[in-house]
């Protein structure tokens, strides 16, 4: 009932909101319903939080005048075709010339061509696949580090574990992002001198991993690296438990940093490794929130769940626009685009500096779930906390 009331309120607000003026509007189409809504919300909430915070701090200075930011967000229902149409509408009908992105690589691949077509910038924190940046587009910028390097720090850390894992199984979903991850990881495995025991692509949204797990078990693999989606990884871990499959280490591209994911698994989430481009530490500072720890608390207080790197990446996108608009002294899309390309500042999420293709580079910190909490294990400078390794058998926990 409460949801319904707030929904009707939301509709009314949306209908009224369209009339305000003298503000800078950022536009986005995000997965607020449909299968990706679970992650899509990080982007909506991250964008909103950043915009509100920047506005409270006086907004964005354009040519000496302070202007407020505003967000126009549409729900693309996890449908990429609808997302494309909504972006065209944002650009042409709502006259919005600064775009924020949707979640997930394939959605970014599809929608970034709208930005390119109408020559307006899109700064997005939802897609990391190299397919996004290999088309020579000039208007797409991304704040997720390269998909090909997601497992770089993990494999580096694996070399320093005792006893170091020797055989690896690589499993990946067949979508744009995970295929990119697998491509990069294959090279990393080879460079580290590890043996690939299994290299298997599976269907996005697969729910049955029993056959794959049986093969992992029978090949007696030391390390299992999985690039996939949260639902798949949930199933993978649950089925690994029920089939008593416990490699020395397993690591996942997504899920581990997300509170919802850990809650769904409860104790079974323990020992799972993952990675994140962002951790809510006090040492990560920016101009608006102070530091990442404060941001985490404020975010949790407002939305009732913990932010992860998706949310922080979304915040960085908004901050990038604020910085770029001030540097350009204009909201002209061409000028803002050029300013974005030259950005170099410390965001809440980390240092933002785009390479010539439009992507930033950030190291991935290896993390592990220990007693239900995410613990940073390994960063650029070596081990941070002690990893729990090797993973104990399921019946010995």
């Amino acid at each position: 009932m409460k949801t319904l009331v707030s929904l009707i309120g939301g509709i009314a607000a949306a209908l009224v909101a369209a009339s305000a003026s003298a503000v800078i509007t950022l536009g986005a189409s995000v997965q607020l319903s449909g299968p990706l809504a679970n992650t899509g919300r990080y982007y909506r909430d991250g964008y909103e939080m950043a915009i509100d915070t920047i506005n409270k701090a006086g907004g964005v200075k354009v040519g000496g005048k302070s202007e407020q930011l505003e967000l126009k967000i549409l729900d693309n229902q996890s449908d990429n075709n609808l997302a494309v149409r909504q972006y065209v509408q944002l650009v042409t009908q709502d006259k919005i010339s600064l775009l924020l992105g949707p979640f997930a690589s394939d959605a970014v691949i599809a929608t970034s061509s709208v930005a390119e077509k109408y020559q307006v910038p899109m700064v997005q924190g939802g897609g990391a696949s190299d397919q996004i940046y290999s088309r020579g587009y000039k208007y797409i910028f991304g704040t997720l580090p390269a998909a090909t390097k997601y497992f770089e720090s993990t494999i580096e850390a694996m070399g320093k574990l005792n006893p170091a894992p020797k055989t690896v199984a690589l499993l990946y979903a067949d979508d744009a992002f995970d295929v990119s991850v697998a491509k990069g990881t294959r090279d990393l495995i080879k460079a580290a001198g590890l043996t690939t025991a299994l290299d298997e692509r599976y269907s996005t949204n697969a729910s049955d991993f029993a056959s794959l797990l049986a093969r992992i078990k029978s090949a007696n693999v030391d390390a299992v690296l999985v690039a996939g989606h949260e639902t798949e990884i949930l199933n993978f871990i649950r089925q690994a438990k029920s089939l008593s499959v416990s490699p020395k280490i397993y690591s996942f591209t997504v899920g581990v940093p997300s509170a919802d994911f850990r809650k769904a698994l409860g104790k079974d989430a323990d020992f799972a490794f993952g990675m994140t481009s962002w951790l809510p530490t006090a040492t990560l500072t920016d101009q608006w929130f102070g530091n990442a720890e404060k941001f985490e608390q404020a975010y949790k207080a407002r939305f009732g769940y913990e932010p992860d790197y998706h949310a922080a990446s979304a915040v960085a996108d908004v901050e990038a626009y604020a910085k770029a608009i001030e540097a350009a002294g204009s909201t002209d899309p061409q000028k803002v685009r050029d300013a974005v390309a030259k950005l170099n500042f410390d965001s809440l999420y980390g240092p933002i500096k785009f390479d010539e293709k439009g992507q930033i580079s950030l190291p991935q910190t290896v993390i592990q779930v220990q007693d239900g909490k995410v613990v940073p294990i390994y960063g650029g400078k070596g081990f941070i906390e002690k990893p729990r390794y090797p993973m104990p058998a399921w019946d010995k926990r």
């Binding site: 607020l32 319903s33 449908d79 909504q86 065209v88 599809a110 390119e116 077509k117 088309r135 996005t204």
Partner: protein, 316 residues
């Protein structure tokens, strides 16, 4: 209304629609493109579903083949768009002939489910095909020319509708209708049911594939799930059924109306748009199962009782 009057109105409406790219805003044009293509899909479905009575839930296969025809030709082989369209159409026709023959022997729900399964199979097969970019899909070159896409879509809709109008008045169309109304009776009266059904399936698939091809080049990105999208099947059927299956203009009107409503909703109330879409389906099926065309015909004489009568007629 006489025949000349209808033709005159259609020509005027077409001429007006053709001027849209010169007078309307880009977002209207892009709404126009997606609506026109949707209308082509509904109208194509009308041939196999509305006239022949075979509720295909697999027309998205044709759409996907058309899309991939264009994408593979342009991305993998560097061929021009036109060649891609032709390639996609050939794929669709081949599919209709090869698969249509066994599948069109099934009736009712079995046919519907089989075609639905075909859409699933195609999604699964294409996501394993290297040349189609597997499940990550293909990115097509960018063309800044929405006016062109608009006129192409409009032309395709006109052509499809003209074909339907011709079919409705032809011996071929009478054969299809006879099959829809009673297939066994049609056969003993001399209708070559198999050939007619396959032909209807192929014509339906031909136009659907062209719509897919245009859409792929316009949207510049394509992956198996969006190319063979199963909800697309449902959408085209809803639009055709809402407008009036087995009529010449019903599906077009249905597509225009429902697209407009859902476009307005998805910008104004966003998340709730699909909820509304679900309710529209339910309400429409309960109160006007024969579509707008039937409503238009009978409402004048029956009045509001029309809706109650539909319920009375179809309930248990």
């Amino acid at each position: 209304m006489n025949r000349f009057g209808v033709v005159a109105i259609v020509v005027v409406v077409l001429a007006l629609l053709a001027t849209v790219p010169w007078i309307a805003s880009p977002s209207i044009i892009q709404f126009g493109i997606s609506t026109l293509l949707m209308a082509v899909l509904a109208q194509s479905w009308n041939i196999i579903g509305g006239y022949t009575g075979y509720a295909s839930f697999g027309n998205s296969v044709f759409y996907g083949l058309g899309s991939y025809g264009v994408a593979i030709a342009m991305v993998q082989w560097n061929l021009p768009f036109g060649v891609g369209l032709a390639f996609g159409a050939v794929l669709a026709l081949l599919f209709a002939l090869l698969i249509g023959l066994p599948v069109l022997r099934l009736r009712g729900h079995y046919f519907a489910i089989c075609t639905l399964a075909l859409a699933e199979v195609m999604t699964a097969i294409v996501s394993n095909l290297e040349i189609a970019g597997r499940n990550t899909g293909l990115v097509l070159p960018l063309l800044r020319g929405d006016a062109l896409f608009y006129e192409l879509s409009l032309g395709l809709l006109a052509l499809t509708t003209l074909t339907v109008a011709y079919i409705a008045r032809s011996r071929f169309g009478f054969g299809l209708i006879a099959i829809r109304e009673n297939e066994e009776a049609a056969a003993v009266m001399g209708v070559d049911t198999t050939r007619y059904k396959v032909a209807a399936f192929a014509i339906s698939g031909f136009f659907t594939s062209l719509a897919g091809g245009i859409h792929a080049y316009w949207i510049t990105f394509l992956d198996p799930v969006s190319a063979f999208d199963i909800t697309l099947n449902v959408k085209m059927i809803i639009m055709a059924v809402f407008g009036g299956p087995g009529s010449i203009f019903g599906p077009v009107v249905g597509a225009f109306l429902l697209s407009a409503i859902s476009e307005v909703l998805s910008t104004k109330i966003s998340t709730l748009a699909s909820l509304f879409f679900g309710f529209v389906i339910i309400v429409a099926v309960v109160f006007m199962p024969r579509g707008l065309a039937d409503l238009g015909r009978r409402f004048r004489s029956v009045g509001w009782r029309y809706f109650a009568e539909n319920v009375r007629r179809n309930r248990l």
